[in-house]
Amino acid sequence: MIELADVQLTLPSAAGAVHILRGLDLRVGAGELVSVLGPSGSGKSSMMMIIAGLERATAGRVAVAGQDFADMDEDDLAQFRRETLGIVFQDFHLVPTMTAVENVAIPLELSGRADAEARAAESLEAVGLGHRLSHYPGQLSGGEQQRAALARALAGQPKLILADEPTGNLDGDTGAQVIDLLFKLCAERGSTLVLITHDINLARRCARSVRLRDGLVLDDTANGALAARVAE
């Protein structure tokens, strides 16, 4: 599903070039659940942006769902995102002037689906927000907002879900409920999940964990070995 080969990302700055990714390699198979760990500045978000086609790698090969990004322009990448990808953010990023169902319908509408609102309503039902369809984000709790964002990410039945600290702004119980829902829906739909987190317990729930440091993969381990390495 994901193939990153010797990916580099260098951004210019007033103080000189900043090397964010320094030759990162990662392969993720279809249906895999992968967590990404690492301290701030290790390159987690940059890697996610590159996988989402939101940032162009300075060097290296990026291919997702069989599509090589090198051959794609911005519009191709936008099409790729609406057809292949669902993203869940730490800050939810729901559009405040749209109701829950309208927020969830956006990617479907972007795909030109005539049944966008009906599908969006189904998706909200699936995350337990069937009774909040016409509520605006400001009228929803943090947990509900994140569930709506989850419904939006999954509404188009994407092959790949990218989740960036999805529980970062939620309290423990609410966060757990959202994560349970995320794993359940990914499993049901066979979606691949790449999950950025600082929470080691949450990382453990994925079959595989990748640790980044200074723009490189520090280690890439199966779930069982992770706890031991962290303990070290």
Partner: protein, 850 residues
């Protein structure tokens, strides 16, 4: 299931836009106000102007006083002409002249009046308003040996008379039987030298005013049988009586002076409205940028969800145009309603009922201007919005609004240029004077460009300037060039508004100077007109006997019109607008053996003092130059219905500003000496002697009319004052638009300023220091803007005066300085008001949130 429709089409863009608009109009105050103001100004001007001109057209017959008006000067129509006319139409005669009126007692003051003698048919159309209400014929009829009169209330007030009292005009006493409240055909007369009084035409002979050569206008008004083609009758009249010498006007030319004035004023006010819209356009650009900056998160979210850049562009373009529609709608409502409020006042001023309905064309034009402006000025920020990266959502930092992508620059620029060209085309196409419209467009582009460059130069200079030691000044300089600083917007928006005001101030001051300062120095105290040849010596002796008399000049005068030049009839000549007045009707003529005092002959020679040959004429050099004629060329002049061919002997430069007696054409002696004529005299006298001279002359010569130059100048000054108020009010619209944009630009940077102020205070800066820094920043901006505006405004004022008004230009520093200083004060006041709150902010809450 997909419907196959594109996920970036306009339908989806409008759907998303509609949802986004639920956020309300917050932050769009300046945007809406700028558009509404500009559109309202243009719509109001269009509605007013069209309304006035249409009313004039619709009511043309009434304003003209008939289906056709045949005007003769000096002499009445011949019986055969009247017979011919009477066979085809009902003919009414109104006889107009200027005269002196006074109360019946000899001590009463004398007032110059516009006297009208009418017949039983007057008015052919409409009705005269009298108070107390009564039949006009009865009011002016002869009763008990006394003719009646209806006089304007102003005349009765000035002579301290009541209805029922007697008023003396010429040799005749009239009984004032009514106040003259309304005349249906008053608007046809552009300038009134005094209050109006209406009497029976049959009474005029007894006044002694009707003398050979007296300046009397005979208006023969025709009422044609229903269904008669006015144009056909007009042609018939011209063909039957080609040498009659009358001026024939139809309802389409009922009040050409008013038409010209309205057209000129419309052009000016439209230009001001467009300037307001142009200034507002910058407010639109600022507001759109500010709005989109607030939408970075939403745009990034849409990008992450797969929205292509084109959809982002369309979604926000749709929103902006919907909002622009609201602003334009507001402007149209205001622009349609405001003239209704002014209709009553206008009707009173113009003397006829001005009906101002909703004018679809004026509103559509204004709407087109508004929408095009919003479109053109939104394109750049909207193209920048396309570049907002979805990646922003993964970053914790507050991402700035991105610059436009280099790839998008050519396309965006092309779209802006096309929109700008359409705007310019519309401005030129709808202008009453296309050339002036074009000059405005070019001038506006140049001025706008200059202010944009100035803004950029200030930023560049502030960045490179050495760091001043004073902390306040250092901060001020830094504020001028930091990212997101409103420097460019403030300079451009305020600059354009100030330029307009400086230009208006200069035009106003120059007009005022012309009237007040220049003319009166050499101006005579009186013009005495209609002095009969057999009175002139007595008149001279009488005036000369007054010890206060300083100078008396007299010349014979008769009237005639230019019928042809070198055999080409005037109607077929290409006459430049600047000298059209010379050909428009009868002009005063004189003859002289000697050249006039101070005459400057620039081509040809003056005739010898004892010249007795074929008639020669000395022509105004300006007319000669404009028409491309000079010594040796021939002119045909129609005098009292007779065509006389003369040869141009010389061209002479005339200084019209002295208010002395000047004539476009001065003839050689001989031919005109025998024609019926009167004398015209100017008298300069000590102020204390003026009343006595006027009284002596009008007592002795009842037919002689005295025109007090001071009173005429006062009237002109008053008229100019009214026009100046209207111009200033209109010019203020551009400044208000500028201030709105300024306020918007300051407001947009307020958050940043609050943060700056808080940080500075945390670091130990006193409020006074922060305040000084803000004041220095805006003072500097205002000063530079005011200097450029002073230069551009002076240039604009110069062009308006010399090219449009054909008046000399004198640079008057005081109004320019006052306007420029006002501009600096406004900038500082708004800049400071916008940042005052920043100074009072508590540090803790803000820092916690950061």
């Amino acid at each position: 299931m997909t419907n196959g429709a594109s996920g970036s089409g306009w339908a989806l863009a409008f759907r998303l836009a509609r949802r986004e608009l639920r956020g309300g109009l917050r932050g769009f105050g300046v945007f809406l106000a700028c558009l509404a103001l500009g559109v309202a100004a243009i719509a109001a001007v269009g509605t007013l102007s069209t309304g006035v001109l249409e009313s004039l057209r619709d009511d043309g017959r009434r304003i003209l006083g008939g289906d056709l008006d045949l005007r003769l000067v000096h002499r009445a129509a011949e019986p055969r002409q009247l017979e011919w006319l009477a066979e085809r139409a009902e003919v009414s005669l109104a006889t107009d002249m200027r005269a002196m009126a006074r109360a019946a007692d000899t001590e009463s003051r004398r007032i110059l009046v516009e006297l009208r003698g009418i017949d039983d048919l007057y008015p052919l159309y409409g009705s005269v308003g009298l108070y107390p209400e009564q039949d006009l014929g009865d009011a002016i009829a002869k009763r008990n040996g006394l003719w009646g009169a209806a006089a304007e209330p102003a005349l009765l007030r000035r002579l301290d008379l009541q209805v029922g009292d007697r008023i003396r005009i010429g040799d005749l006493n009239y009984e004032v039987r009514a106040e003259l409240r309304f005349e249906p055909d008053r608007a046809a007369k552009v300038i009134s030298f005094g209050p109006h009084i209406v009497v029976s035409g049959d009474s005029l002979a007894d006044t002694g005013l009707v003398q050979p050569g007296s300046l009397i206008h005979y208006h023969y008004r025709l009422r044609l049988p229903p269904g008669t083609a006015v144009e056909a009758v007009r042609n018939d009249i011209n063909e039957t009586f080609p040498d009659a010498g009358w001026r024939v006007r139809g309802p389409d030319q009922a009040a050409p002076g008013v038409t010209r004035f309205v057209e000129r004023l419309t052009l000016y006010l439209t230009v001001v409205g467009l300037t307001a819209l142009l200034v507002g356009g910058m407010g639109v650009a600022n507001a759109v940028t500010s709005f989109l900056e607030g939408r970075i998160g939403t745009i990034a979210t849409l990008k992450c969800l797969g929205a292509p850049g084109v959809l982002i562009f369309r979604t926000y373009m749709a929103q902006i145009m919907i909002l622009a529609g609201i602003g334009v709608g507001l402007g149209l409502v205001l622009g349609a309603a405001a003239p209704q409020a002014a209709a009553g006042l206008l009707s009173e001023m113009l003397g006829w009922q001005v009906s101002l309905g909703v004018n679809a064309q004026a509103l559509l034009t204004a709407a087109a201007f508004g929408l095009l402006t919003a479109f053109a000025f939104s394109l750049w920020p909207l193209s920048r919005a396309r570049q907002v990266p979805g990646a922003n959502l993964f970053r914790d930092v507050v991402a700035p609004f991105p610059a436009i992508s280099p790839r998008a620059v050519p396309g965006t620029m092309a779209a802006i240029i096309v929109a700008g060209l359409v705007l310019a085309g519309l401005a030129i196409a709808t202008a009453t004077d296309r050339w002036l419209g074009l000059y405005f467009v070019l001038g506006a582009i140049a001025t706008l460009g200059l202010f944009r460059l100035t803004g950029a130069a200030i930023v560049a200079l502030a960045r490179r300037a050495p760091r001043p030691k004073a902390t306040g000044l250092r901060l001020a300089l830094a504020n001028l060039h930091r990212p997101g600083a409103p420097t460019g917007s403030v300079v451009a928006s305020l600059g354009l508004g100030l330029t307009v005001l400086v230009a208006i101030a200069l035009v106003e001051a120059n007009l005022g100077r012309q009237v007040r300062d220049e003319m009166p120095v050499n101006a005579p105290a009186f013009y005495f007109i209609d002095i009969q040849p057999d009175q002139i010596e007595d008149f001279t002796a009488l005036v000369g006997a007054n010890p206060g008399m300083q100078e008396l000049k007299r010349v014979p005068m008769l009237r005639g019109r230019i019928a042809a030049i070198n055999g080409t009839p005037s109607a077929e000549l290409q006459i430049p607008p600047d000298i059209a007045w010379v050909f428009r009707g009868d002009r005063g003529l004189t003859w002289s053996a000697q050249p006039p005092e101070d005459a400057k002959i620039v081509e040809g020679q003056w005739w010898p003092p004892d010249y007795k040959g074929a008639p020669l004429v000395s022509l105004d050099a300006g007319v000669g130059r404009h028409m491309g004629i000079g010594p040796g060329d021939r002119m045909t002049i129609n005098i009292l219905g007779r065509d006389i061919e003369v040869e141009i002997a010389n061209l002479r430069v005339i200084d019209w500003s002295g208010l002395g007696m000047n004539f476009v054409m001065v003839f050689s002696p001989g031919l005109l000496e025998s024609a019926p004529q009167t004398y015209i005299a100017t008298v300069r006298a000590e102020a204390s002697a003026e009343d006595a001279i006027e009284r002596a002359v009008t007592d002795r010569f009842a037919n002689v009319t005295a025109i007090r130059v001071k009173e005429v100048l006062a009237m002109v000054t008053e008229l100019l004052g009214h026009i100046a108020i209207a111009l200033r009010a209109a010019g203020s619209i551009a400044l208000v638009a500028g201030i709105l944009v300024l306020a918007g630009a300051v407001a947009a940077s307020r958050r940043r300023r609050i943060y700056d102020a808080v940080v500075l205070k945390v670091l130990g800066a006193r409020r006074a220091l922060v305040a000084r820094a803000f004041m220095a920043e805006y003072g500097l901006l205002g000063a530079v803007t005011a200097i450029i505006a002073a230069v551009m405004g002076s240039l604009t004022g110069y062009l308006i005066l010399t090219e449009v008004m054909n008046l000399p230009f004198v640079f008057l520093p005081l109004p320019v300085l006052a306007t420029a200083l006002g501009g600096v004060a406004i900038t500082m006041a708004f800049g400071f008001a916008g940042t005052w709150r920043a100074l009072g902010q508590k540090a803790a809450p803000l820092l916690r949130n950061k």
